[in-house]
Structure formats: C-alpha cells, structure tokens
C-alpha cells in the first residue's frame, strides 16, 4: 500500500459576512490521496468543490484544519511546485501563444532553451505539435484545454489539481478529452484530484469517487471504482459502471433536494 502523498485533515473554509455568522463553504474535510491515484470529487453545484481545490493549492487560505504533503504539514504555499492546477474555462493568457502559455511555469526556472524544449515536449504529449505559435482564440475549446493541461504538466508536478476542466466543452469533444486524459495520465503517472459535475466522467477516469454533500460541503461517501485499466468507452456499458453511476446519482439527488429544501426555509 503506497503512502498518501496528499492528506487533508479537518479542513474548513468560511468567509466572514459583515457581522453575522460566517458563511461556511466546506467543513471538516478529511481526504487522503495515494501516490499515482486518480480521485474525483463530485457533488451538487455550490458545494465548495472548487474552493476546496483552491485552498489545497494555496490560492486561498484555509479557515481551519491541516494539509499534509508526504506527511509534512504545509504552512504557506509550496515553492517547489508540488501541485499543478488546471483551471476551468478560459484561463489561457490571450496575449501568449500556445507555446508561451505552456512556458509560463518554467521560464525563469530553467535555462531558456531547456524550458522551451520541455514546453514543446508537453505540447506534443497533449497532441498539439504544430500549434505552438497559435494564440488561444485561434484554437478550439478542446485544444485550449489541451494547452491548459500542458501548462500545468510542464513543471512536472506530482499532484495535478483539475477544476472541471472539460465543463465548457461540447459532449463529443468532452468524451475525446476524457480518453485523452486517460492516455496522458497513464503516460505521466500523476496523482490527480479531479473535480466534476458529471458522474460518468468521474467513474470513467477515477480509481475513487468522492461524493460531497450540499453546502457546507462535507465528504458524504467514497466509492472505489472496481474497473480494470486501461479503460475505454466500453466500460460504460459494464454492469458495475452502471450500478455505481446509479448509486452515486441517488446520493447527489438527495443532496440537491436537501439543498433546495434548505434554501426554501
């Protein structure tokens, strides 16, 4: 059993609301992710999944709890770039070409020729050789997310945090990107935390699916995905896939209903 590379203990995030009770985004999250594991987090909208990822990455400070990497507690942000972040939507810098967007994380950290070679290698990995000089607006949505993925991978992080990276894509492109991610993951052996709304996406990609409750977000349940790798789209018709999808959906349905009931009080 591999040791956990990332561990989160009792992590809580709240934001002050002028005077009154603080607004609790998520509460007492406990999470442990093993080296090389692909973990997805699904949950109803507004349950704090994205905020959790931002707190883990250090983009936002936690209100309570601890984050451990390799058993060492994190205080402040990791300067060593242990984590890479794949943002949702249009986060590519429009004034930089694909190559320069990918270079962002390595320029200044490596000699420029080496940095450029690395960037080209990762663009090649995501299937974008020949598009080095294209600006983001000249690329399709799927290609933009490939650049986005290459940009996060270029610093060779051990943990990849992916915040609904395919949410803005059409259904076909999204399916292709899921398969591409499976391929890239198997080639790079990264530890991945993947946020999504789409249950089938979470099951297809992950070793483990974590279901979040409605806000304030808590870990409601965890499911190991009992499907062998390498995977392809055929597993979607596997009995175990269908059963798991239903089980997860039932829980999310309950959470969504509870959240709606809550807001009607």
């Amino acid at each position: 059993m591999a040791a956990s590379v990332l561990e989160v203990r009792n992590l809580t995030k709240e934001v002050p609301t002028g005077g009154g009770e603080p607004f609790v985004i998520f509460k007492d999250i406990n999470l442990s992710v093993k080296e090389g594991e692909f973990v997805s987090i699904v949950g109803p909208s507004g349950c704090g999944k994205t905020t959790l990822l931002r707190v883990i990455n250090g983009l936002l400070p936690p209100s309570g709890g601890q984050i451990f990497i390799d058993g060492k507690e994190q205080t402040g942000v990791d300067r060593e770039l242990v984590m890479g972040f794949v943002f949702q939507g249009a986060s590519l810098l429009p004034w930089r070409t694909s190559l320069k967007n990918v270079l962002l994380g390595v320029e200044g950290r490596k000699p420029s020729r080496e940095a450029e070679e690395t960037a080209r290698r990762y663009l090649n990995l995501v299937g974008l050789s020949g598009f080095e000089r294209h600006y983001p607006h000249q690329l399709s949505g799927g290609m933009q997310q490939r650049v986005n993925l290459a940009r996060a991978l270029v610093v060779d992080p051990r943990i990849l945090l992916m915040d609904e990276p395919f949410a803005a894509l059409d259904a076909q492109t999204r399916t292709f990107m899921q398969l591409e991610l499976l391929r890239i993951w198997s080639e790079t052996k990264k530890t991945v935390i993947f946020i999504t709304h789409m249950i089938s996406e979470a099951i297809l990609l992950s070793d483990r699916v974590i279901v979040f409750s409605h806000r304030p977000g808590r870990v409601r349940s965890e499911f190991a995905v009992p499907l062998a790798r390498p995977r392809n789209l055929d597993i979607k018709s596997d009995q175990r896939f269908v059963e798991l999808e239903n089980k997860v959906w039932k829980q999310i349905e309950e959470e969504v209903k509870a959240a709606a009931g809550f807001s009607q009080l």
Binding site: R54, L59, D78, F85, L93, L104
Partner: protein
C-alpha cells in the same frame, strides 16, 4: 464596402461644406469653401512656408506634454490600482483635478511659470495625464482573477506576476488611454497657445480670428484635426503591433 462608406462620408461632408459656404452663407467673412482652405493651406506650406514655425511649436509642446503624461500617468495609475492606501490618499485630489476645467488652471500656470515652453507643456500635460492615468488604473484593476490565479498557481513572485500577467493584461487599456489623451492633448495645445503665445497653431487660430482672416483660421483648425487623426492612427498602428493577438479576432 465599409471603406467606401467612409469615403462617401468624407467626400459628402466636404461637398456639403462647399455648398453651404458658396451658395447658402455666401459671406467670406463668416465661412469659406474648403477649396479656399486647401489653397491657403498649400500656400502656407509650400509658398510662404509660414505654417512651419507654428506647426513645430505646437507639435513640440504636444509631444513633450504627452510624453511626460505617459511617464507620470501610467505608473501612478498602477500604484493607485495596486496599493489601496495610495488609492485612498490620491483619489480625492485626482477627482478634483480631473473634474476641474483645465482652462481654469491656464492663467494660474501662466502666472507661475511665465509665458514660455514650461507652462504650455504643463497645460498639455494636465490634459493628457488623466485619461492615461485612469485607463492604466482600470486596466490593472480589471485583470481577470483567473489570470492572476494562474500566475499564483505557478508561485510567480510579485515582480513576475506584475511583468507576466498584470502588465500585459493592462496594455490594451493603456493604449486606449493614450488614444483618448491625443484629443485632450491637442485641446491643451490650443488652450496653452491661446494665452499670450507668440507662435503655435493655437496662436495662429486666435490671431486669425481676431483679424477676421477666415481662410487662415480654417487652415489652423484643419491642421489640428489632421494632427488628431494622425495621432489616433499612429496609436492604432502601435496597438496592432503591441497586441498581435487581438488583430486576428473576427471584426464585429
């Protein structure tokens, strides 16, 4: 198609002007035909050549004023955007200076600095600096949080975050500020040269008005207009060069 609309607009405007001057107003003490203005302009450029000292004097204070306004306005805008204490400290003064009509300052500045180059440049500077400052300020304030987070996820230092994310994201706003400043700068030139100048396009117009020299008056005004258009176009070219990623966006 769109080019021909522009051409039609310009030619039509001149024809209307000509018809108004010759057939409606018909009084050369009030309005002259554009043909007369063009001939007078030709005369002042290539025969008597007495336009050049004015052109040179005006261009000189314009460029100096613009340059100083850029050098002061852009960093000051950035500082106000990035430092909340500086923002709160400077905002009341900036608002007061910006909203006061500049022409109200002109006599005071002339009194303090005399009727020479310095006071004229200061008047132009006061005209140009605010659009540049305000645009630089907003450019930096509205940088997408996502872009900043991308930089922070790579643990860029504050300096690198500024150079690689904030500054390039603000460039289109700064250039738009410079374009706004061209018009206000030329107004500044006219105001500065109105008060006690001995040369310059503003003086030329003022003097021609006083002596009812209508053709010269219109030449002065036209040169101002042409300078404004040229300045605007020049900045458009600079904008295209500085922001190549925008050039290929589909025209709407």
């Amino acid at each position: 198609m769109r080019g021909s609309v522009k051409l039609f607009s310009v030619v039509g405007g001149f024809v209307l002007w000509h018809v108004l001057a010759v057939h409606v107003v018909n009084d050369t003490a009030l309005l002259v035909s554009p043909v007369v203005v063009v001939l007078k302009g030709y005369d002042m450029l290539f025969v008597t050549a007495d336009l050049y000292p004015h052109l040179y004097a005006s261009a000189s204070i314009f460029f100096q004023g613009m340059l100083i306004a850029t050098v002061v306005g852009v960093p000051l805008g950035f500082v106000m955007a990035l430092n909340p204490i500086m923002r709160d400290y400077l905002t009341p003064w900036m608002t007061a200076l910006y909203t006061t009509p500049r022409i109200a300052f002109a006599p005071v500045i002339l009194l303090w600095f005399g009727v020479d180059l310095a006071s004229k440049v200061i008047i132009v500077f006061l005209g140009c600096v605010f659009p540049i400052l305000i645009n630089s300020f907003y450019g930096m304030r509205v940088v997408s949080r996502e872009f900043v987070d991308v930089g922070r996820s790579f643990r860029l230092s504050a300096g690198r975050l500024f150079l690689k994310i904030l500054l390039p994201a603000s460039v289109p706003f700064i250039l738009a500020g410079l374009r706004l400043a061209v018009g206000r700068g030329l107004t500044g030139v006219a105001i500065a040269e109105w008060f006690g100048a001995r040369e310059g396009l503003g003086f030329l117009i003022f003097f021609a008005g006083q002596t009812l020299n209508i053709p010269t008056l219109f030449v002065g005004v036209s040169v101002f207009a042409i300078l404004g258009i040229l300045g605007f176009q020049l900045l458009k070219v600079i904008e295209d060069l500085a922001t190549p990623w925008k050039k290929e966006l589909p025209a709407k």
